[in-house]
């Protein structure tokens, strides 16, 4: 929360310094937004604000809560039972993020038109999932155990392109897509049966990060790389 406050404060400061010199949309430079993909894909909410600080530059900050379920690709379980377990892992994530957008069309000022953007998310995640305990000596002892891990550090970085349209002079419709790298911090330990682990169990780490399609993992099953798509609706306030 402290980060969010700092970011918002920074943005208000830049707004007061640069705001007057730039046009925005008919003088309006402050947009309050929500991402429609958050409830649809991530079972969460995403709220953000954006400011036009230069004629073609917009900066923004926001936060999101997600509570996404992941199919657990436990290979040893599949080996034993022929399919992955029905139970899903839940990852509850709270993140604050900062975004910078460079609008590419100079003939129409921000916040309208196409843009390139970079966005960084920082947060904390709680994970509840399963772990399949393998026992090669006594296979009957094998079992699907549950585990949880709280307050591990989560990060995402997205870069891509977007397009924003203003409707009815006060509503913004913002579509963007980009390449996302997700990271769940391995140095955060979590415990299963009083044993500490420092990587994400449950076979879903490769899908953490991108919201629509993961190309695969990067790092040791601590995060995925893939395609993120956002569809944000906003209101131009002032």
């Amino acid at each position: 929360m402290r980060r969010l406050t700092l970011l918002t404060g920074f943005l208000f400061l830049t707004y007061s310094i640069f705001g007057q010199a730039n046009t925005g949309f008919q003088g309006k430079r402050f947009i309050l937004k929500t991402d429609l993909m958050a409830p649809l894909v991530d079972k969460g909410v995403d709220i953000s604000t954006e400011y036009v600080i230069f004629r073609t530059v917009v900066v923004g900050a926001g936060f999101n809560f997600t509570g996404r379920d992941y199919k657990q690709k436990l290979e040893s379980y599949k080996f034993r039972y022929g399919s992955y377990p029905e139970e899903k892992a839940t990852l509850k994530d709270f993140q604050v993020y900062a975004v910078a957008k460079l609008f590419l069309n100079n003939a129409i000022p921000a916040p309208q038109g196409s843009y390139a953007f970079a966005q960084i998310h920082l947060g904390r995640a709680d994970i509840k999932g399963n772990y399949y305990q393998v026992d090669n000596v006594n296979p009957e002892n094998e079992s699907l155990l549950s585990y949880s891990s709280e307050n591990i550090r989560s990060r995402k970085f997205t870069a891509g392109f977007g397009y924003q349209e203003v409707l009815l002079n006060f509503i913004t419709l913002d579509f963007d897509f980009g390449l996302t790298l997700g990271a769940l911090n391995a140095s955060e330990k979590f415990t299963i049966n009083r044993q500490d682990f420092n990587f994400v169990h449950g076979g879903f780490g490769d899908r953490y990060g991108p919201n629509v399609y993961s190309f695969g993992e990067w790092g040791l099953n601590q995060g995925g790389i893939g395609l993120t798509v956002n569809l944000r609706v906003g209101i131009l306030l002032f």
Binding site: A107, Q112, G160, F161
Partner: protein, 245 residues
């Protein structure tokens, strides 16, 4: 990540990049905006709204569509000028009545003169100074603008301002290119492309100072966006914002 995935990303990126064409070119005199030369009131000579539609064979002006948009355009001009502290007096042909014969001695020839001079002279031809170019935006500041005839200087007394302008919008609808390629590579986008036209919207404004008999400001911008109310409002506000500074 295999090659196919990279290809999808590249294609998406190029789609977006291709959709962000835009050019803004502003030429103005250095005197503009200086003390005594603040543009606070402009007489706008019959704003034009042109809708051009191209088919594979020809380009035609749609008179009906053009005419239906003119009054809305006038209102938008007025509103966006006011928001930037500029008073715009729009002289619209539709409002002429039988007592306005002087229009044909004063303002109609002035409009013709401004269009002619814009065609015949460049800012660069007079005395060029600094031009900045950055990402499709050019702002040139010049010692002097294209010269119009000083015989219109008396209009400054009649209208209470030396600033007279021509403002216009032209939208050009063209058949979308590369539909088949899109259909083969990204079928959903390809199918969608059959329902949308490629549209370029142009906005231009020329402001003359009849007192000094020169064009002091000329702006042309081109965006590949539809001429929706929001898009036009954004363009017009930005334009008047630059003029009012």
């Amino acid at each position: 990540m295999n090659k196919k995935r990279y290809f999808i990303l590249l294609l998406l990126a190029s789609l977006f990049l291709s959709s962000c064409r835009g050019i803004l070119r502003i030429d103005q005199t250095k005197m503009m905006g200086r003390k005594g030369n603040n543009v606070k009131r402009i007489v706008c000579l019959n704003p034009d709204y042109e809708v051009l539609i191209s088919t594979k064979d020809q380009t035609q002006k749609s008179y009906q569509k053009s005419a239906s948009k003119e009054s809305t355009f006038n209102k938008m001009l007025d509103r966006n000028a006011r928001k930037n502290g500029i008073q715009l007096q729009i002289i619209d042909n539709e409002d002429l009545n039988k007592h306005d014969a002087s229009f044909f001695n004063d303002l109609a020839p002035l409009k013709q003169e401004l269009l002619q001079v814009s065609y015949l002279q460049n800012f660069d031809n007079v005395r060029n100074n600094t031009s900045k170019f950055r990402l499709g935006k050019v702002i040139g500041k010049h010692e002097q603008g294209p010269l119009i005839s000083p015989r219109f200087s008396y209009l400054a007394d009649i209208y209470g301002t030396p600033f007279f302008s021509i403002n216009g919008i032209a939208t050009h609808k063209k058949p979308k290119k590369g539909k088949l390629l899109l259909l083969l590579t990204i079928p959903p986008v390809g199918i969608a492309s059959f329902f949308f036209q490629d549209v370029d919207t142009y906005y231009y404004t020329i402001i003359a100072d009849v007192r000094s008999a020169e064009i002091i400001y000329r702006e042309v911008r081109q965006v590949n966006l539809r001429a929706t109310e929001a898009n036009l409002n954004s363009l017009l506000y930005d334009s008047f914002h630059i003029i009012s500074k």
